[in-house]
Symmetry: C2
Subunit: 345 residues, 2 copies
DNA sequence: CTGAAAGCGCTAACAG
DNA sequence: CTGTTAGCGCTTTCAG
């Protein structure tokens, strides 16, 4: 016989109590490290616990306390460099505060997104961090419930929800001005995705225009490259079509790194040099940016800060904070690499 | 008043029963879609449910059924291209079978790895899919418990556990022979990581040697490049040192894609052309392989198959299958790209 | 400082 | 076909 339970069913709190010759309350007390337990009582119980290999049943505990110590993170895809690093940061931030994270993949499907929001009442989690891809502010307002939610990303969200994002318009402007600083005059934007209802692209486009106008450059709508879907292949098609149809540009701001690396690849295939002929900037500063060729200059949201704020704010809500939604702008910077290098002094 | 609960606490099963004027059992019956409920009874209950906005409390259900319909997936890092695509595939496979996945990040820390295995008894999940980075077969044997586990990856695992992996030795041999087929004679292996106890590297090294010997090439231990840690930076250092110390090679098999793309980058910096001077092969066929320059030939495990098998086997165990561990070899192939192109006919 | 007992919300025997 | 009832394993008043 090893030190674990020998044979049949799981050992329960009462079993430990019986084994140690004390009441269940006392066992509970030592499990929870409560004060006011005599040392020898404590050690006796401790011994019984290890003897029997007792592990508290979390489900039972949850039922009575109404607390799960879990939060959900709902993201469009796990298998995406930005979201997986976001998930990583959130898991770590939550761990520090003794919460576990249930990652929910919504596949950018609005039904699944709504399900997550509705599900949260099922009592599986104490709160939700939610990065929508499709769902709109209106949809959300309808399912107002009591479990706390913190929204991430660029979609407009109901005022009642806490929300964290970077200032997309400003960041986009910074990126455009960096390209202008490199002497680029005809700067394209990739890509305006058909059916993107979350509005990230819109804000980035606004910043793009603002950046151009501020610098006295005219906005040429043919330089806003339309993309069919979020796949890198569509991005390649868009860039290729632009080139084929004789549209000329010397700078390219992309809505995300995946589009950007796809563009780099296409430009190389077309024999166009980066950054000499066309300087390229991506968005999200994912691992792709580090290993592309040339390495990719990219708008870099501070994921640590976003994750920390999200977890902190959510836990505040879980612990009872009320009041209207707080709106936080997270820090970011432009991570300069080869595809749009630093402006020479 | 909207259609949801107006005011205070969550609505329970009894509330619905009272509202509909039936017993709890009847409500439970319609919630579970049991047969033998008269249509009008059913619709009456249904109406009460929507009227009150009732949502079953999963925690309570779990406590009584002892079933969580959740499985855990324990991986070293979420933020890693291979593991995040594995997670994606497993989440989808589990979804098809009405299971949800709790992703646990072990950070390649053996304590955390063991915690996950011990934790599974906490009743949070019905089973665990576990890809270890550090923990050995011996450690595992000690915590034999009753919750089912399916092991993934190359580490040796106790015979009592189900286990899925690709044949690393054979795959490595295939890769080496592909390089030999390209006429390469001096093929290096990157990298033998210090302190890698999980044994993946060892198997790949064995295949590497076997491939060389089979083809009548001698094995030169100076061609096995030692790497300090799993970071891409260490891999660069290793390759650089090899080059500086005059070690010559024309082929490079890497233990994973991250090392491979790091190597590609370093070779480029050193002015060495790929694949002309050195052909490179990676491992895992991650997104990095698609966007590196040149694009990377890589050993490509069939993640779909692995995920499906893992989920299927785990659920079989959850449903009571007993017997010793099943050992499954998953399919793979060599995904040919530019860094080690197809052999000309 | 410790024990007894009630109950979290649900399910599933067992009667009717 | 529907209702009553006894728990699932834990926490937590409230007495002692």
């Amino acid at each position: 016989m090893s030190g674990t339970n020998n044979g049949s069913r799981r050992v329960r709190l009462v079993d430990v109590a019986r084994h140690a010759g004390v009441s269940t309350k006392t066992v509970s007390n030592v499990v929870h490290n409560y004060q006011h337990v005599t040392p020898d009582m404590r050690s006796r119980v401790q011994k019984a616990i290890t003897d029997l290999g007792y592990k508290p049943n979390l489900t039972a505990r949850r039922l009575v306390t109404g607390k799960t110590s879990m939060i959900a993170l709902a993201i469009p895809e796990t298998n995406h460099p930005y979201f997986s690093s976001l998930a990583d940061a959130i898991v770590k931030a939550a761990e520090d505060r003794d919460y576990r994270v249930l990652i929910e993949q919504t596949d950018g499907d609005s039904e699944k997104e709504l399900d997550v929001l509705r599900d949260r009442e099922a009592g599986l989690v104490d709160g939700v961090i939610f990065q929508p891809a499709k769902v709109t502010s209106l949809d959300l307002a309808q399912i107002q419930e009591d479990t706390p939610v913190v929204m991430l990303g660029e979609a407009a969200s109901p005022i009642s929800f806490d929300h964290i994002m970077i200032d997309n318009t400003a960041a986009s402007e910074v990126a455009v001005k960096h390209l202008i600083g490199l002497g680029r005059k005809r700067i394209a934007f990739l890509g305006d995705v058909r059916g993107d209802s979350a509005g990230a692209t819109k804000k980035r486009l606004t910043g793009y225009q603002k950046g151009l106008e501020d610098s006295g450059l005219s906005v040429d709508t043919s330089l806003v490259l339309q993309v069919e879907s979020f796949s890198p292949e569509s991005a390649k098609v868009a860039v290729q079509e632009a080139i084929r149809s004789g549209i000329e540009f010397d700078g390219l701001l992309c809505r995300d790194d995946r589009f950007a690396v796809a563009a780099l690849q296409l430009l190389r295939d077309e024999g166009i040099s980066t950054p000499e002929e066309i300087a390229v900037i991506g968005w999200d500063d994912t691992v792709l940016a580090r290993y592309s060729y040339p390495t990719l200059t990219s708008v870099s949201p501070n994921i640590q800060a976003i994750a920390n704020d999200a977890v902190t704010m959510l836990i505040e809500r879980i612990e009872g904070l009320s009041g209207t939604g707080r709106h936080v702008l997270a820090p970011y910077n432009l991570h300069i690499r080869e595809s749009a290098p630093a402006v020479k002094a």
